[in-house]
Symmetry: C2
Subunit: 462 residues, 2 copies
């Protein structure tokens, strides 16, 4: 098996495993107790905090261990908003943040606050100017990921931190995807991360709140972790998290070069060997191990199953692989194709031979899925009829990628300059039809409400 989904969870680093085992013996007692076992636990906790703080580049007393990266974000956002409640209740986030940040933003809206979602370029990156424009007198907090978890694009954190600093607004950086590689540059105010993304155990997140940042922890609390993470410390896992962060950092320089070459190879080879594919994300400013592409006329779930059968574990932002039947909010915000989406995220140590085998297998897997989906739908069977000067394709009730497949099948049957109107009630079509037009050099002319679903208008240009 080749596990290529490190952006979801990385397998445990050997150093983490070793540290965890040692700490299970020495670090199970309550670190607030005065007896021998408690003092030993306290020493381990203090040492882990020092090590993690050193890796982050902060003071040990600015760093709290939480029970997950998600919990770190929820606590960090809520605490920072409450700490600046008097300033106002306006929050700025990018449109491509992790769901934990977006859920925090939705909670603020539900409680009467306001949220600005900063749009991104087609690469997935925000522009510091957009953050500057979003700042207003009542802005309590801004959030920006260090790098995107779905497409790997690195964000201009230092620049955004600067515009926030100039306006006196704290910036919370979700560093979940990048902290294992390097410190976050720039003058940020809060930082969150998650150990199981860098090869540490699950059950440990980091929340860093810089001295001087107003912060009021919300909900019930206790005396542990400066009142920011209630409950008995998950000490063996914390020890393992800190030890593995040091370990992956010591390997990061060499390993990042190696993975970057492998993902560059995937970017290039997929574009060559798979027809009708869009490789997404920034080609240069990106994380070493993540590469994402979308394949026209492909059902993401079926493709994932095919790849799983071939021994490759990858994830997808396609609507058909989510329980909500909506495509990934990241791909949506970028305006890129979501159908047949595949994210490859290589764990540290991923073997070159496995990557090469993936590149061998992929074109056939994509072709196989396309054949299954496309072949049994002869052009004649497409529900299309010319109404006035418009060819209408009725794709109602059909799920991604069928509406785009049907559009592609009929576009050649209208004259250049003619129009196709695709009726669809699939949420993914709203993203994928414009993306298809962009890829195919056709003109997308917008959507209209229809009797059922939505009508998407496409003019044939080529």
């Amino acid at each position: 098996m080749s596990y290529f989904d490190a952006a979801s969870a990385a397998p445990l680093h050997p150093v983490a495993r070793q540290a965890l085992l040692a700490a299970l013996d020495d670090g199970w007692a309550d670190p607030s107790r005065l007896y021998r076992e408690g003092r030993k636990a306290r020493m381990l906790l203090d040492a882990a905090r020092e090590a993690a703080a050193e890796a982050v580049g902060c003071r040990a007393d600015e760093l709290t261990f939480t029970s997950s990266g998600t919990r770190a974000v929820h606590t960090g956002v809520a605490g920072a908003l409450a700490g600046r409640r008097r300033t106002g209740r306006h929050l700025i986030v990018s449109a491509v943040e992790h769901s934990s940040v977006l859920h925090s933003a939705e909670l603020l809206e539900a409680e009467g606050g306001a949220v600005t979602r900063v749009p991104v370029l087609r690469t997935g990156a925000v522009d510091a100017g957009s953050y500057e424009a979003a700042l207003r007198p009542g802005t309590a907090l801004a959030c920006l990921q260090s790098a995107n978890h779905e497409v790997g694009t690195v964000q201009p954190v230092a620049e955004v931190a600067e515009v926030c600093r100039a306006a006196g607004v704290p910036l919370l950086v979700d560093a979940a995807q990048s902290l294992g590689w390097e410190r976050v540059a720039g003058d940020w105010s809060l930082l969150t991360a998650s150990a199981h993304k860098w090869g540490g155990p699950s059950g440990v997140g980091l929340l860093v709140v810089r001295k001087g940042v107003r912060f009021a922890a919300q909900g019930a609390s206790d005396e542990r972790e400066s009142g920011r993470a209630a409950g008995f410390e998950n000490l063996p896992a914390i020890v393992a998290a800190a030890a593995s962060l040091r370990a992956v950092r010591s390997e990061a320089e060499r390993e990042s070069v190696r993975l970057r070459e492998l993902t560059a190879r995937i970017r290039a080879r997929v574009a060559e060997s798979v027809p009708d594919v869009e490789v997404v994300g920034d080609a240069e400013r990106r994380l070493p191990g993540i590469v994402t592409f979308s394949c026209l006329y492909v059902d993401g779930e079926t493709l994932l199953h095919e790849l799983d059968r071939e021994g490759f574990s990858v994830s997808s932002g396609s609507s058909c692989t989510s329980s909500t039947l909506t495509p990934s909010h990241v791909l949506k915000a970028m305006g890129v194709l979501s159908e047949g989406n595949v994210r490859v995220s290589l764990p540290a140590g991923a073997a070159e031979a496995d990557v090469d085998r993936f590149l061998e297998v992929l074109p056939g897997a994509v072709a196989g899925v396309r054949e299954k989906l496309g072949a049994p739908v002869p052009v004649a069977a497409v529900q299309a009829a010319v109404q006035e000067d418009v060819l209408v394709v009725d794709a109602l009730g059909k799920r991604c990628p069928i509406p785009v497949i049907e559009l592609a099948k009929v576009i050649g049957t209208v004259p250049v300059g003619g129009r196709v109107r695709v009726l669809s009630d699939d949420e993914a079509a709203r993203l994928d039809i414009p993306a298809w037009c962009e890829m195919r050099g056709q003109r997308y002319e917008g959507e209209q409400a229809a009797e059922r679903g939505t009508a998407y208008l496409v003019r044939r240009l080529t």
Copy 2:
């Protein structure tokens, strides 16, 4: 070393360790993913939930894994209160609940809700009638521990559940101290527990919400754990928690008999071999492994250090061992002596020989501390002066157990029927002077505000 503080945290059960190691290899991936590693993780998570639900006696879909017992309580109380917001904002708790419950109650008060703290008998037990009397039309929730964490007294949960059920009020049971021994009896509505109390790993709590109980999770959430515990599941630890719960349950019947005999031995022998000691808690309705006693004229912290030097790890509810300089709220609510307090909580498997050695060492350790504290304070040096018919002892600025020691030194110098007035600004004196009177057969006549601190009035009867 003999670790006798299982009520804080139990060392990892061998089964937990084994399950954890296995799950580190098989259960690190995201259980929501469709590929092989994800499916394996999902199977482990489902099996752990089934096993834990079986041990609790609930349906698997009623059980949520949280990141700690404290988190389970915070989430459970907040969710249950919000779910019955329309009914009212009144909460009932016992005065001897774990701090996680009391912190939740304080949060409700800070937000404008009302809390009734049900008093306890001198044994530490509540009376079901007191809960019944506390119920009112706006009561949203009642909380009661299954057994007390400081003195081991078992609470009448089934009776309290019945009076709550009759009033249509859900009862949340904090079963942290007892779930490893047995299911919680009675018709409760919510239940919480903590794995590291039964020999599971830290980082895992349980929250059970019975079907039909109104519940609205508070704060930001995600799609994991029915929206009740956001963030990546701490799967290896969850697997270890469930496996060890099964394991300790299979040993519980035999082990509880054995530990109960050992703690009964401690109860009897301490009362015989240590002068001026009060063994607290219910002698019959109690947990198998916990026994707690308080020693007059002893500084708890010094005694803990002495015992630690002898190789015994125990905890204390004395004020001098807490960072806030206030005695344990449990001892306070029971009205028993808090000075020189020692809690012995035996882990499963505790050796009889270690208990016997503890009983050998204890009298000398107590005597040593008393000598250090008492010997250097000759009667002549006590700041006492007869004013009218009252002997005034000035213990201002002196910490527990000095005020009680000075009272004890002078009581013989006033005639029977005469009075002593102890001036003290130590919070523990409020509890310990009445407790001393109770133990010594003297009459406590109440307190008065003094120019500095508080004056405690004692009449000599014997």
